[in-house]
């Protein structure tokens, strides 16, 4: 067991993970997918019971950089393995898109305690920005991603007054109302394509067409690999950003505002400033990745941005463990991949999903991977 | 008709979460008597009340009302056994009228005649409540709310009335008034367990008393004994 806490163990674990994900992606028959799902569940359970998970956890903590590199290598490895598989590359990228979106939501709600049940609406705001701008302007696409984020921030500011003035249930209704409003608004706006939706041009960065298949030395690579690579870069930035926030005075402010506003105010923390900051940061990330998602799919419709989708984002955070980055990654993967793969349960996926969330909240209220204590960067003086 | 049931707390320990607040406390409220529990803030008086009423059940030891063990009995059933409570801070139902508050005090009473009878008694004790019976309790002054709370406690014609810090936040004049009423209630036959920090007036009306300090009984005796005891003074000015 002890081997799991050193580099060899981590290497082995990530290798197993990579092989597992690759086989899951590749699996066609429902039986295989079913077996693989059960395998994952039992491995998780056994790991928890035997202390293997804790060992691995300890190892990862001690070899942080090595683990991240291994994990990254594993993802890239899987992507290379799936290089000509449109469907699975798209799915893998979609998982990353959801991870990024939820990281945005997590800043608002995991760190700062701001309930946002309109995540999909801000995500959609970015998407529609991309639709309008790619169709009607020549603005460089990278810039459009940024504009998507900024539009989401601006739309968020419409809600800022009620968000600041309300708490708890009353705050929830503000974002729920906005979520429903947004969906109806895009559905009935002819300018945005109405219920039929709107086409979005594919990404093109400095002349590099993302929607063209790549041919390297005779190897045919799916055009989704372009999106995969960019999503991975965005994901790494989003994770670095989230971690930097968490391990800074800003993260500390966010946490104290979430946990005890009165005490925080008594020690000089400006509650409004940090709520606005968290809300804007989260919406920016949601809008930016929403624009990316729209450009990848090439098409968006109001049905992608319903209250139900917002709910899925909030569920991912709660399932993963509020505030926990690895938790969000794991939960996004489960929530996106499993229903896609288990076509046999396709019809029942919402039911199973809902029951699953209820069970996890009842029996594991802190989520799959609980958020770790804040680790500030080590200073030289603390070497010992 | 005088009460005949004693309340006995034997070697009881309880507290909240990981912390024990009461340690090995034994207290008896004799039938027909006014028994008082004295002590400064934070001595554990209110926790004792909560324990007796089943809101914070005892972790060890037991609580018995007459022959019945009520250590683990749920609160609404404890009330059904003939105990009634005037909670700390009065705790009237602020959105209800005076009459509704009083009727809630008689929630367990089935017979409308009995309720009417109790109402008559309460109105006799507090004519003001009769005048104000349709007023919303939350809009009344502290003194008036105290009347509502005491009246409500009497509506079920209890054997034992547990009164938690009736003087809290009341003007001195009204405190004196309240103590007179407590004596009157006792004279009519109801046993009283009175929890107070106001030592002199409490001892003046009670028969027997206990002094709590740091969650333990630090002194007990008849009120005469306690009045002359240094223990009481030192429980406050140590």
């Amino acid at each position: 067991m002890k081997i799991l806490s050193n580099k060899i163990g981590i290497f082995a674990a990530t290798a197993v993970l990579a092989v597992y994900v690759a086989s899951l992606m590749h699996a066609e028959s429902q039986l295989t997918v079913g077996i693989l799902s059960v395998l994952f569940g039992s491995a998780w359970f056994i790991g928890d019971k035997t202390g293997a998970s804790q060992m691995l956890d300890k190892g990862i903590k001690e070899n942080g950089r090595f683990s991240s590199t291994m994990f990254l290598a594993a993802i890239i490895g899987v992507a290379i393995y799936l290089h000509d598989d449109h469907f699975n590359l798209l799915m893998l990228t979609t998982v990353m898109v959801f991870v990024i979106a939820c990281l945005g939501l997590n800043i608002q709600f995991g760190y700062n305690g701001l309930l946002n049940f309109a995540g999909a609406a801000f995500f959609g705001a970015g998407g529609y920005t991309a639709a309008v701008l790619t169709q009607n302007t020549q603005i460089p696409h990278l810039l459009i991603l940024l504009i998507g984020g900024i539009v989401a921030i601006l739309i968020g500011f419409i809600l800022i007054l009620p968000v600041l003035r309300t708490r708890g249930h009353y705050a929830a209704v503000v974002t729920i109302a906005f979520s429903l409003l947004f969906r109806t608004l895009v559905e009935v706006s002819p300018a945005l394509g109405g219920a039929q939706g709107s086409a979005v041009k594919g990404l093109n960065i400095l002349g590099w067409e993302f929607n063209k298949n790549i041919d390297i030395a005779g190897l045919d690579i799916s055009f989704y690999m372009n999106y995969f690579v960019l999503a991975l870069i965005l994901l790494l930035i989003a994770i670095a950003f989230s971690k930097a926030i968490e391990r800074s005075w800003i993260g500390l402010n966010f946490d104290t505002v979430r946990l005890d506003e009165t005490a925080a105010a008594c020690f000089g923390v400006n509650i409004k400033r940090w709520k606005i900051t968290a809300f804007a940061m989260g919406n920016f990330i949601l809008g930016l990745i929403g624009a990316f998602y729209a450009m990848m799919l090439g098409f968006i419709a109001p049905n992608n941005f319903t209250f139900g989708d917002s709910l899925i984002m909030v569920s991912i955070i709660l399932l993963g463990g509020i505030g926990s980055i690895p938790g969000i990654i794991l939960a996004s993967a489960i929530v996106i991949i499993l229903p896609e793969k288990l076509q046999g349960i396709q019809e029942y996926r919402f039911l199973i999903f809902a029951v699953g969330v209820i069970l996890i909240l009842l029996f594991r209220p802190n989520g799959l991977i609980k958020r770790k204590m804040r680790q500030f960067p080590k200073t030289k003086a603390q070497g010992e | 008709m005088s009460s005949t049931i004693d309340l006995n707390v034997r070697n009881a320990t309880t507290g909240y979460d990981a912390v024990n607040v009461l340690h090995d406390v034994s207290v008896q409220a004799k039938a027909g008597n006014i028994t008082c529990i004295l002590g400064s803030n934070g001595a554990g008086k209110s926790t004792l009340v909560r324990m007796i009423l089943g809101l914070t059940p005892a972790r060890s030891g037991n609580v018995a009302f007459g022959e019945t063990d009520i250590t683990k009995t749920r609160t609404h059933k404890v009330i059904g056994k003939g105990i009634s409570c005037i909670p700390e801070g009065r705790a009237v139902f602020p959105k209800c009228t005076v009459l509704q508050n009083l009727r809630l005090g008689a929630y367990g009473v089935e017979s409308e005649d009995e309720i009417q009878n109790s109402l008559k008694n309460v109105y006799e004790l507090f004519p003001r409540l009769h005048e104000r019976k349709t007023q919303i309790a939350g809009t009344m002054s502290g003194g008036e709310q105290a009347m509502v709370s005491i009246g409500r406690g009497l509506m079920s014609s209890p054997e034992l009335l547990v009164i938690d810090e009736p003087s809290l936040g009341l003007s001195p004049l009204f405190v004196t008034e309240t103590f007179k009423i407590i004596r009157e209630i006792n004279n009519r036959g109801t046993s009283v367990l009175l929890i107070e920090q106001n030592v002199k007036q409490t001892l003046a009306i009670s028969h027997y008393g206990y002094v709590l300090g740091q969650g333990r009984v630090v002194a007990e005796g008849t009120s005469k004994e306690l009045s002359s005891s240094e223990a009481v003074h030192s429980a406050y000015f140590s």
Partner: protein
């Protein structure tokens, strides 16, 4: 320059019909330890809450070191040099000891986005010096926690939480420290220890005044220079502990009138 740190004049607080504070005049002298005592519900904690800006005042004026602080929001009051602890230790139980204490240094820490997120080197430097100050205070008040700075506060018993709270309140070098029932949830001995340490710090810092709300008279008598007694929101008496404990008004407030 006068000898007065805090001067509250005619402070009134009403909650609906209830008068929680009734024209209270109160002065805290520089470098003194003032006991604020009175029976339950006499308005002691309300006074703290008004002073620190959690409640608004109905009437009256409060000056701190010559500056009017009436109606200031809590952040501003804190920045002017008033720091406090809470009756029910208000710590963030999920957060570490370090986090909880470090928030007390908030005004001294650079809160800029660039500084915190991008300029990590500068941040690390500031973190280092903050860490040293936190460690120093913890070493003084709770040496056994020195090696546990990264453990969540929820893991520790009440006495440690109180100590952490005091460290948080002291980290920003306040000029006035408000202690709200530090003995709640602790034994007499534990309270005594903690108070001795507070007095020790006060002596070392020199320019620190302390107001303490407490019902354990043993503590009040040991550590206060002067006491103010409240009853029904009114100041009924002030003086040294010896004076007030002999005062008939005070005895009446605590022990009650004769019937």
């Amino acid at each position: 320059m006068t000898n007065i740190s805090l001067k509250a004049t005619g402070v009134v607080k009403r909650f609906g019909g209830l008068v929680a504070l009734d024209k209270v005049n109160l002065e805290v002298h520089n470098e003194e330890v003032l006991g604020l005592i009175g029976p339950n519900g006499s308005g002691k904690t309300t006074f703290f809450n008004i002073l620190t800006g959690i409640y608004s005042t109905t009437d009256g004026k409060m000056e701190f070191r010559g500056k009017d602080i009436t109606g200031m929001p809590p952040q501003a009051v804190f920045k002017s040099g008033i720091s406090r602890t809470f009756q029910r230790a208000r710590l963030c139980l999920e957060l570490s000891v370090f986090d909880n204490v470090a928030i007390g240094d908030h005004p001294q820490l650079n809160q800029g986005l660039w500084f915190n997120i991008i300029n990590r080197k500068a941040f690390r430097h500031e973190y280092g010096s903050c860490h040293d100050r936190v460690a120093e205070l913890i070493n003084q008040f709770a040496p056994h926690l020195s090696s546990k700075l990264n453990e969540p506060v929820g893991n520790f018993p009440m006495i440690d939480r109180r100590r952490i709270e005091v460290c948080r309140a002291l980290l920003g070098n306040p000029k006035l420290l408000l202690l709200d029932e530090p003995s709640a949830g602790m034994t007499e001995e534990e309270t005594r220890q903690l108070m001795d340490e507070v007095i020790d710090i006060r002596k070392k810092r020199g320019d620190l005044s302390v107001v303490i709300v407490e019902h354990e008279m043993g503590i009040i008598s040991r550590i206060t220079d002067r006491c103010v007694v409240l009853n029904f929101g009114k100041k009924i008496c002030e003086g040294t502990y010896e004076d007030i404990s002999q005062n008939s008004e005070v005895q009446k407030a605590y022990l009650g009138d004769d019937l």
